[in-house]
């Protein structure tokens, strides 16, 4: 240890003028309150934060300079022979130099902080308790380690032989390529907390690797520059590629959580029949990174899906095939790749050749075709080959489009052209419905529903070709798309307080909460009123799907718009009995009405409920109990 302390103290003594510079720098924060930019803060805060900034900035600059001169120059100009001729251990030479520099930087930083701290001791104490000291500490450590390593790297690059510099450049390019490839899925996932933490860890690990490489250069090479450079190269790139390997392993772990690790899930897609769902959620130990699975609720089998929040996901109606989109690169407005997988086979997803800027996707009922709305056209592709089967030009000013396969060879489009007929004080719109014949590559206009008062909302029954149109301040109307006719007005309901569902037998259910009371109206297939069920006092009522034919999931909450406070019930449509399932539960189908075709009774989508803590629960019709599928927060 004598050697270590001798080297460390020598480093400090040799550059003692640094403390003079630090003392001068320490005076500037005292004048910070005079700066116009600091006037919005109190004078003590201005002094303190300026001193903190100066301390960290001074440490960074000093580390960079010392990394270049104290360590790098000693190594490259073979000045270490003096130390190797003395009874000082190899590690003590390198560690002593580093410790001396580190201590010098620390003392200089404290010297800068000292005057402002003494002048404003009370503020200093208060801010320290609020975490200022920890923040400065983290910034300080980061600045010292990274800039010291950076200075050393620059110094070595400038002083090494061209062959080694070329070797370093090639290795650096390969390493960057590897790190870029490994981190791309994380960048695409847009998880800032995970990225920030990983970036910090990787930066510090790389800096440590660089310093360790310097240590190896000293210990192994000693005064032999060739051997030292060789050791430095081997250790540096060995460690950096080891870091890349660890990073790859950790990234793989991040992106591949087991279903049991998922929490706070959202159901993004569900098969109308069968037991497969596509879920996205947080996973244990992965901060804000959202990962996804296609999960078989019945068997527990799963296939990994996309990462992040972006993109679309669909599951075919027969539950055999899933498709999803995933950004190709790190830019959110860039092209997206389309992935597909056969769920039943349990095989991992494969990337199709399709890559473009995608608005939405739909999958055919048996999972062999995919409709993709791009920027200018809607294309129908064969999956997984990606072969284009047909395309439809999209108007750039279309305000809304919905498209859904109503058979393997038929794609139904709902378009609302923006050129609406205007009446005094009203804005009118027309819904145009057309079918695209895939084999014939021909668009067949089916029906138009004109003169709808904006705003309005829609509910679709793709199985029987019906649409419920609900105009604000007006009626809830049923249209039959197969016969292109208006069927009937179901009634007038309060805006934003109703929920609609097409039942498996074709009947229609409409739920409303008005005057503090919840009701479920049951209509025949043709829209004729059949029965009204009272659901008690409520400010919000939503309809889910049918866990079994004739039983409807209903959520009832005390306050409009506050879904998390709702409780779930099962409504027996035969006798009107309500059975409470649980508190703070919502049927998943109620959330997914827009994306999800009406689930069939007994399908996973009809049995799932989400709790306000993020848990996903499955209703077991056999036992009548709820089973946790994914845990909550």
């Amino acid at each position: 240890m004598r050697g270590f302390f001798a080297v460390a103290s020598r480093e400090i003594v040799e550059r003692r003028r640094v403390f003079v510079a630090a003392a001068v720098a320490a005076l500037f924060p005292l004048f910070a309150p005079l700066l116009p930019a600091a006037r919005r803060f109190g004078a003590p805060e201005a002094r303190l934060y300026t001193a903190a900034f100066f301390a960290v900035a001074f440490s960074a600059a000093l580390s960079l300079i010392l990394g270049m001169t104290a360590i790098g120059r000693d190594l490259s100009e073979r000045r270490l022979g003096f130390y190797f001729s003395r009874p000082i251990g190899n590690a003590a030479i390198w560690a002593g130099k580093l410790a001396g520099i580190g201590l010098q930087v620390l003392l200089a930083a404290l010297l800068i902080l000292l005057p402002a701290g003494l002048v404003d001791l009370a503020t200093w104490w208060r801010e320290t308790r609020m975490g200022l000291a920890a923040e400065i500490g983290v910034a300080f450590v980061f600045a010292v380690v990274v800039f010291l390593a950076l200075g050393k790297a620059i110094s070595l690059a400038l002083r090494s032989r061209p062959a080694w510099v070329a070797g370093d450049v090639v290795a650096f390019a390969l390493w960057l390529l590897a790190m870029g490839t490994i981190s791309l899925p994380l960048l695409v996932a847009r998880a800032p907390v995970v990225l920030q933490r990983l970036g910090l860890v990787v930066a510090i690990a790389c800096a440590v690797a660089l310093l360790a490489a310097g240590g190896a250069q000293v210990s192994i090479g000693r005064v032999d520059p060739v051997r030292g450079t060789r050791a430095r190269f081997a250790v540096l790139w060995g460690l950096l590629f080891a870091i890349a390997g660890l990073f790859a392993g950790f990234t793989r772990w991040l992106l591949r959580p087991a279903p049991s690790e998922l929490s706070s899930v959202l159901v993004r897609a569900a098969a109308p029949a069968g037991s497969w769902i596509g879920v996205e959620g947080l996973a244990r130990g992965r901060a804000d990174l959202r990962v996804s699975l296609f999960y078989d609720v019945a068997s527990g089998g799963y296939v990994r899906g996309w990462t992040g929040r972006e993109g679309s996901a669909v599951v075919s109606a027969d539950g055999t095939t899933a498709a999803w989109t995933q950004a190709s690169g790190i830019f959110s407005d860039g092209p997206q790749d389309v992935w597909a997988c056969r769920l039943a086979a349990g095989a991992p997803g494969t990337r199709t050749p399709i890559s473009e800027r995608i608005g939405n996707i739909a999958i055919s009922p048996e999972g062999s075709r995919l409709a993709i709305a791009g920027e200018r056209a809607l294309g129908i592709y064969e999956i997984p080959s990606g072969r284009l089967l047909g395309s439809i030009a999209l108007d750039s000013d279309e305000r809304f489009s919905r498209f859904v396969f109503v058979g393997r060879d038929r794609l139904r489009l709902f378009r609302i052209p923006s050129a609406a007929v205007a009446r005094a004080g009203e804005e009118l719109a027309t819904i145009e419905v057309s079918d695209f014949d895939v084999p014939a590559r021909r668009l067949v206009e089916r029906v138009a529903i004109p003169n709808l008062h904006r705003p309005f909302s829609l509910a679709f029954d793709d199985r029987d070709g019906r649409v419920l149109v609900w105009e604000k301040g007006s009626a809830l109307s049923l249209f039959d798309l197969s016969s292109s006719r208006f069927v009937r007005v179901l009634g007038n309901f309060a805006w934003d307080a109703t929920s609609r569902a097409f039942l498996s037998d074709g009947r229609i259910a409409v739920a409303e909460a008005s005057a503090g009371m919840a009701r479920v109206h049951l209509f025949s297939k043709n829209g004729e009123p059949e029965r009204v069920f009272e659901a008690g006092q409520a400010g919000l009522v939503r309809l889910g799907a049918e866990p079994s034919a004739g039983t409807l999931a209903v959520s009832v909450g005390p306050t409009p718009y506050v879904w998390g406070a709702s409780d779930s019930f099962l409504l027996d449509l035969r006798d009107g009995k309500l059975r409470k399932l649980g508190k703070h539960l919502e049927p998943v189908a109620a959330h997914m009405r827009w994306r999800l075709p009406q689930p069939e009774p007994g399908s996973a989508a009809s049995l799932l409920f989400s709790r306000n803590d993020g848990a996903l629960l499955r209703f077991d019709p056999a036992t009548g109990k709820l089973v946790t599928v994914f845990r909550g927060r």
Partner: protein, 320 residues
């Protein structure tokens, strides 16, 4: 090694050092006896500094090993340096460090540090104690490093060409200082140098290194006694039928036929053999002379030790 024997202060075993394809040392073996002064001679680039760096554990050999007091120098360098004083080829103390600071730095590393002795020695030589090392002259730097190497009373002193780039006065001062330092201590010395005149007076054993190969490794006295220059004339007589065999009794290292006769360097001289040689028919005016270290080196290595030596040698021999 016999455990009852104390290990030699320094030994090199089958040492090979390469720099890429170039070989600096090729299977060199030598040892330095306790209390002796081993002088390793060789031209610049012969591999002396590589050998010294390996010897003091500052450089790892490609094969072979170096031992200090019986221990591997590479593995136990730090501990061994308490018993060894080293002056490497380029005086390499940190430029901002003054001799006084060097002394204080070393004092922290050695239990027995003669700071006063160092200051006195440097003062005697006119080296300022408070001037940064980087501003000292080359001679002053060498003196400082030598003083620092001697400060802890080392059992072994390793000096790599300490007189390189020094003028003759500085060289003389350094050797005098070295002799003075050794006089009362019995310190073992391993030195590489070009300065044959300076080392000749103090070396007890000599090694010749040429292009990484150890051509010769011998006690100084033996070397002096067995190398001789023999000059003689060759006469044609009626009884003489064979020429060129008169030197067969000697190992002739170099034979040059000149206008006045033959000039030969032999490496196994003895007086009886010379008497027989002198009586050989046709050999006339035979005379023998002792050789300087420089002449021996020239004869063995086939080249002068330094360019100026070559010029001096050429002038002496009267060759064009």
């Amino acid at each position: 090694m016999n455990p009852t024997e104390s290990p030699v202060p320094a030994a090199v075993e089958d040492l090979t050092v390469r720099y890429g394809r170039a070989i600096a040392c090729a299977q060199v073996s030598l040892s330095v006896a306790r209390g002796g002064v081993y002088a390793l001679l060789g031209r610049k680039g012969a591999g002396k500094s590589s050998l010294v760096r390996c010897l003091v554990g500052a450089q790892k050999p490609d094969s072979g090993r170096t031992l200090l007091f019986g221990e591997d120098a590479w593995r136990h360098r730090a501990r061994l340096m308490t018993r060894v004083g080293v002056v490497l080829e380029d005086p390499d103390a940190p430029p901002a460090m003054t001799p006084g600071e060097i002394s204080r730095f070393c004092a922290r590393l050695h239990r027995a540090w003669d700071g006063r002795g160092l200051r006195d020695r440097l003062a005697r030589l006119g080296v300022p104690l408070d001037a940064p090392f980087g501003r000292l002259s080359k001679g002053q730097k060498a003196q400082v490093m030598l003083a620092a190497a001697l400060g802890h009373g080392p059992e072994l002193l390793v000096l790599d060409d300490p007189t390189l780039n020094l003028d003759s006065a500085a060289r003389k001062a350094l050797f005098e200082e070295l002799i003075a330092a050794l006089a009362g201590r019995g310190t073992t010395v391993f030195i590489t140098t070009h300065d044959l005149a300076g080392i000749e007076a103090i070396a007890t054993r000599i090694g010749f290194l040429k292009k990484g190969r150890l051509l010769l490794d011998e006690e100084m006295e033996t070397l002096r006694s067995r190398f001789r220059r023999i000059r003689y004339g060759n006469e044609i007589t009626a009884a003489r039928t064979v020429y060129g065999t008169e030197l067969d009794a000697f190992d002739a290292v170099r034979v040059q036929v000149r206008g006045w006769g033959v000039d030969a360097v032999v490496s196994n001289y003895d007086d009886l053999a010379f008497e027989r040689f002198r009586r050989t028919a046709g050999v006339v005016d035979a005379e023998v002379s002792a050789m300087s270290l420089e002449e021996i080196f020239l004869a063995v290595a086939g080249e002068p030790l330094a360019p100026e030596s070559a010029a001096r040698g050429a002038a002496r021999e009267g060759t064009p």
